[in-house]
């Protein structure tokens, strides 16, 4: 089974590098190559998950190298990794199909698909890493390989966004690094252990120091999850091509941040050490604040992609609220929201991309009455909006419910603040999503009719959209097995 883990990491990275070196000029051939390798990698990523689910994480354990007795590079897909692994394993091929159509009119496709492939392997590495050191390495590596994707257009805006991205990520990495140093000193091992790795004998007398370090680490990993005040890179990065915004800035990169936060809370410091301390309240309050802040900002954005980006800021903090609740319910809620938000937000971005790419529509007020011209895209957008708002029985409701219960379960002002922020943000979500989606169907009377040349997106775009919608509906309507599975992992 080890071979699966190796292949899951190496195939995408090596084939991406090969693409960068070979630079094929024939589009059809390259697309076939990319599709093939992405599918093969996805099979390996999902296969690793399956193998670990069937035979236990030890079966897929991959030991790469020892730098010292604590600094070990190793991969071990455990329960929570599977959730993340499955998300990226399913969504990467879908995005690839979408990207073929989208990237036709953008230049430098080789560069794009090369780094796109490499990122797949690196994110799989984050999902499957066995200890904080490996996680940190993959995490840093991810910043570097996604930079060319963010700066893809290479105009002034894109470059500025890329620089912002690097600056913020480096800040986060620095904070995390402090955390790592403290782990080296106060823990016996860096390998993820549910319940925490701190050696309480060594910790005695240094609790305050370690809590401060935890807060630093939380915000450090939180940079990628766009927690306030480290969120600004995310809306700026929406200048990237839509497949990148959709997959990386709604799913892979940002979810890596949330995932790493989860590792830090549950598998690093441990809930018992943190529960009920000021450190928990600080991070809980910060996440709850970001939830409301992101939604409020989103409401002010007439640019659809930027509106969605701020919505991502808000929704990632839902996940952080769940993890900061530091209870098993919170862990389950956060993982559930990772799954649902991934599917929902990627659909929304794909819709926005279809409107932008085919019809050059960027602003919400230009899109009134669009449903007549783009029925599939608008239909998917509407359903995904409802799911994002948390209208039962669609997926978002279940995850938000679980997060809300977890937050309220803290029985503390910060916990109630978390639950209340969910409600406030849900109202704002309704406003910012429906003020776009409803206008597709019921334009205001004084809005100009959509001009003739506006047309529906092509099959390569609507196909993934419909697939994602079916996936979302299936996950939503039969969500009890999913939530039971995730609840059982915890």
């Amino acid at each position: 089974m080890k071979i699966l883990t190796i292949l899951a990491l190496l195939v995408p990275i090596l084939s991406g590098i090969a693409l960068l070196i070979a630079r094929p000029q024939n589009r059809t051939k390259r697309n076939h190559y990319v599709m093939l390798t992405v599918c093969v990698s996805a099979v390996f990523v999902l296969g690793t998950a399956l193998a670990s689910a069937l035979n236990g994480p030890e079966a897929a354990y991959l030991h790469v190298a020892d730098l010292s007795d604590k600094l070990v590079i190793a991969f071990r897909p455990d329960g929570v990794s599977l959730v993340f692994g499955c998300i990226i394993g399913v969504l990467w091929p879908v995005t690839t199909v979408y990207a073929f159509s989208y990237m036709e009119h953008e230049s430098r496709e080789n560069m794009f698909f090369g780094f796109f492939l490499i990122t797949f392997g690196v994110v799989a590495g984050i999902a499957y890493s066995a200890n904080f050191f490996t996680l940190y390495l993959c995490y840093e590596f991810m910043t570097l390989v996604t930079l060319p994707l963010v700066m893809h257009e290479m105009d002034g805006k894109a470059r500025a966004a890329g620089k912002k991205y690097v600056l913020y990520s480096m800040t986060g990495a620095a904070l995390v690094f402090i955390c790592l140093m403290y782990f080296l000193r106060y823990a016996d091992t860096l390998a993820f252990t549910y319940g925490g790795i701190l050696n309480m004998d060594k910790v005695k007398g240094h609790e305050k120091e370690l809590m401060t370090v935890f807060v630093l680490g939380f915000f450090g990993f939180g940079v990628k999850a766009a927690i306030f005040p480290f969120h600004r890179w995310l809306p700026a990065a929406s200048v990237a091509p839509t497949p990148v915004t959709a997959l990386l800035h709604a799913v892979a990169v940002v979810k890596s941040g949330a995932f790493a936060v989860m590792r830090l809370v549950y598998f690093g410091f441990g809930c018992e050490f943190l529960r009920g301390t000021w450190a928990q309240y600080v991070v809980l309050a910060a996440s709850a604040f970001t939830v409301m802040f992101g939604s409020a900002m989103s409401l002010r954005m007439p640019h659809l992609k930027r509106r969605l980006a701020y919505s991502t800021v808000s929704n990632l903090s839902y996940i952080l609220v769940a993890f900061a609740s530091m209870s098993p319910v919170g862990l389950a809620g956060g993982l559930l929201h990772m799954v649902f938000h991934a599917v929902i937000k990627i659909s929304l971005f794909f819709c926005a991309g279809a409107m932008l790419h085919h019809n050059k529509l960027e602003y919400v007020y230009d899109m009134e009455g669009l449903s007549k011209k783009m029925p599939v895209t608008c239909g998917v957008f509407l359903i995904a909006s409802l799911a994002l708002m948390g209208v039962p029985p669609l997926g978002g409701f279940l995850s938000k419910w679980t997060i809300g219960t977890a937050a309220a379960g803290n029985m503390h002002w910060a916990g109630y603040l978390g639950a209340a922020s969910l409600i406030v943000s849900a109202i704002l979500t309704t406003l910012y999503m429906l003020s776009a989606a409803v206008r597709f169907y019921f334009p205001l009377k004084d809005a100009p009719a959509q001009p003739e040349h506006i047309h529906e997106a092509d099959r390569l775009m609507t196909g993934p959209l419909v697939f994602l919608m079916v996936l979302l509906l299936a996950l939503s309507l039969c969500s009890a097995p999913l939530s039971a599975w995730i609840g059982g992992l915890v």
Partner: protein, 661 residues
């Protein structure tokens, strides 16, 4: 069967949609057949009061249904309303556009509503309640006029706010009950326990909850359900949304959809607050205001459907007054509970008849303004009789269904007054409630008489549009059935209405009434007489004198309600706009503070640098220049990165060397 009742309309609508989508008429048969099937299933439910059902993989925790009591009554009534409006629809919707969309959501709403009424727990109820809010939104916006779009937005927003407030309440309740359940069964395995908030669990654990929590939950749920019921101060959507919807949809919105909110309030009041008089007092305040305000608004309205919508609001107030009396009276609350159930039933049938009649008027005249529709019904006996029957029933004229339920509600208040006096407490506030009750009843009579007078007695204007025949036989049949049912129920009260009320009572957790009420006793007739007297006086002096002006020898009906006196335009919309402005400002302010922190740090790092930045727009990554190209490269950020990488490599080499040794 319960699952089928909920999902048959939803799935069948999806199946029919592609077939009937673009056709104007193809929808009517499936709509009638499907709602008819649900109605038949509802009738069978009456025989099986203990039926329970559920799907446990659906929506996280599963959804569970239960029949019996008020649930069956409401579910059957809803299906009946659907069949009736479906019968009246072919005429109303001929020549309309987007019928496919309307009927898709028409059937979905039926399924959702059945889900609300048959729910065995609050979670299921909430799920279907939300679905219903969104599907019925499409009814309101169906005509796509600017008023419809505005009204539908108000409707949606109030529904969403209400739903989310209720959700907050459910969080708290779920949290508290889960803890209690966990303590009891000592799971303790750390597995997340999902309660579904079954009504039985709620009533069992409610006494153990702290009063603060209980009231918080109750108020949150009241906001959610009250928003749908049209309770003050969340009623603002109702007088706007009901008139702009197509008439059959208005009949459903007014007649039965508002009852889903009432149903929820009954659930909360009788299961979470069983035997808590404080809750009864709390509920009574908005209930009485709704009752009175709705009647006053209806008197001043100059739009046929708006009058009926305001009237609905007022009648909901009557029902809620009954519910709060039921809570206040504790175990003696049967009489008020019976009144509430029967008024729900009566009001649904009344509004069905009246709105279908209004639809006939609109379909002919193409206006709802009282000045345009006057005299329309002069020579139309069926329309006249049906409308008269509805009007008499809603005004509480003895012999009609409405009289029976209003008498019971009135009895409830009187009984509580007596109860208070017996215990040596002052009954004055409740005497006042009684008088407001009678006054509102009088106003009901006044505005209904006025409508009747204008449509059926006043002079016709010269050019009134009318098609021949003025309505189809099917619509006529609906009006006839609706019109006949009310005197029928009213005259056979002991045989029909008492039985229905007794059947519904278990949901109120009350025993059936000990002895039958003599509806035509002097004491009970007295209340009706007072109301009728007030009504006649108001009709003569306010309706005919103040609100009517002679203009060129013709009566015109004035709108004297001041424009500024509109809660939505005067308070809610400005408040919302203000809030969104303040919120946006705050968010931006906070964001700039965050940015200041980050960029301030960067600036601090570069504080000592005196040279110029090249290029000037790249503050973070550019070099400090006016020097040679080489040194510019050397001092750039990428060069720093390069150095750092070299350093790391060197360190790693050293480490490797050490390990090898």
């Amino acid at each position: 069967m319960l699952i089928l009742m909920v999902f048959l309309p939803m799935i069948a609508a999806l199946v029919c949609y592609p077939i009937c989508r673009n056709s104007e008429r193809a929808w009517f048969t499936p709509a009638i057949v499907i709602s008819g099937a649900v109605f038949v299933m509802g009738l069978f439910l009456v025989l099986e009061p203990e039926l329970a059902d559920g799907i446990d993989f659906f929506c996280g925790k599963g959804i569970y249904f239960k029949a019996g009591g008020l649930r069956t009554v409401m579910a059957t009534l809803a299906a009946f309303m659907w069949v009736m409006t479906a019968l009246a629809s072919p005429e109303y919707f001929s020549g309309a556009r987007a019928n496919g969309r309307y009927f898709l959501f028409y059937l979905w709403t039926l399924g959702a509503l059945e889900g609300v009424f048959l729910a065995a727990d609050l979670m299921t109820l909430f799920v279907f309640f939300e679905i219903m809010s969104f599907t019925s939104y499409v009814w309101v916006v169906q005509n796509e006029t600017p008023e419809a779009i505005r009204a539908s937005e108000t409707y949606l927003f109030i529904a969403v706010i209400g739903g989310l407030t209720m959700l907050m309440g459910l969080f708290l309740l779920d949290n508290a009950i889960s803890k209690l359940v966990l303590e009891e069964i000592e799971l303790g395995s750390g597995l997340p326990y999902y309660s579904t908030l079954r009504f039985e669990d709620i009533v069992r654990y409610a006494p153990e909850l702290s009063p603060r929590l209980r009231y918080t939950v109750g108020v949150c749920a009241l906001v959610g359900f009250g928003a749908k019921a049209g309770m003050f101060p969340l009623h603002i959507w109702l007088p706007k949304a009901h008139p702009v919807a197509p008439a059959p949809a208005s009949a459903l919105l007014s007649g039965i959809l508002t009852k889903s909110g009432v149903f929820g309030i009954i659930g909360i009041s009788c299961w979470l607050f069983d035997g808590v008089p404080g809750w009864g007092n709390l509920l009574l305040i908005p209930a009485v205001i709704t009752m009175f305000l709705g009647a006053v608004l209806a008197v001043f309205s100059v739009d046929l459907k708006r009058t009926l919508a305001c009237s609905s609001m007022s009648q909901i107030g009557f029902i809620l007054t009954g519910v709060s009396m039921c809570v206040l009276l504790g175990e003696h609350g049967s009489i008020a509970a019976c009144g509430a159930v029967l008024h729900i039933l009566n009001h649904s049938l009344i509004k069905l008849t009246l709105f279908v009649a209004a639809g006939v008027v609109y379909f002919n005249v193409h206006s709802l303004n009282l000045n345009d529709v006057r005299g329309f019904g002069k020579d139309k006996p069926l329309l006249k009789l049906a409308f008269l029957s509805g009007a008499c029933s809603i005004a509480g004229i003895p012999g009609f269904g409405g009289y029976i339920s209003k008498t019971l509600l009135h009895e409830g208040i009187v009984e509580y007054c007596e109860h208070l006096t017996e215990h040596g407490l002052s009954a004055a506030p409740f005497k006042a409630v009684e008088w407001i009750f009678l006054l509102s009843g009088g106003l009901t009579l006044a505005y209904m008489t006025r409508l009747f007078y204008i449509i059926f007695v006043a002079e016709k204007p010269e050019h009134q549009h009318q098609k021949t025949p003025y309505m189809s036989p099917m619509t006529g049949a609906v009006l006839a059935i609706g019109g006949l049912l009310m005197p029928l129920l009213g005259l056979t009260a002991h045989l029909t209405m008492d039985k229905i009320a007794a059947y519904a009572l278990p949901f109120f957790r009350r025993e059936p009434m000990a002895h039958a009420v003599n509806y035509f006793s002097l004491g009970n007739l007295k209340g009706a007489v007072i109301s009728i007297t007030i009504g006649v006086l108001v009709f003569l002096f306010v309706g005919m004198k103040w609100l009517t002006r002679k203009k060129d020898g013709v009566d015109t009906y004035r709108n004297v309600w001041p424009k500024g006196l509109d809660l939505e335009d005067a308070v809610y919309r400005p408040a919302l706009r203000g809030l969104s402005f303040v919120g946006g400002m705050a968010a931006r302010l906070v964001e700039s503070v965050g940015a200041l922190l980050i960029y301030g740090t960067v600036d601090l790092l570069f504080l000592g640098a005196k040279d110029k930045v090249v290029p000037p727009e790249d503050e973070q990554f550019s070099a400090y220049s006016k020097q040679s190209e080489r040194s510019r490269v050397e001092r750039s950020f990428s060069a720093d990165l390069l150095y750092a990488a070299c350093g790391v490599l060197a360190l790693m080499a050293l480490a490797a060397w050490n390990m090898l040794r």
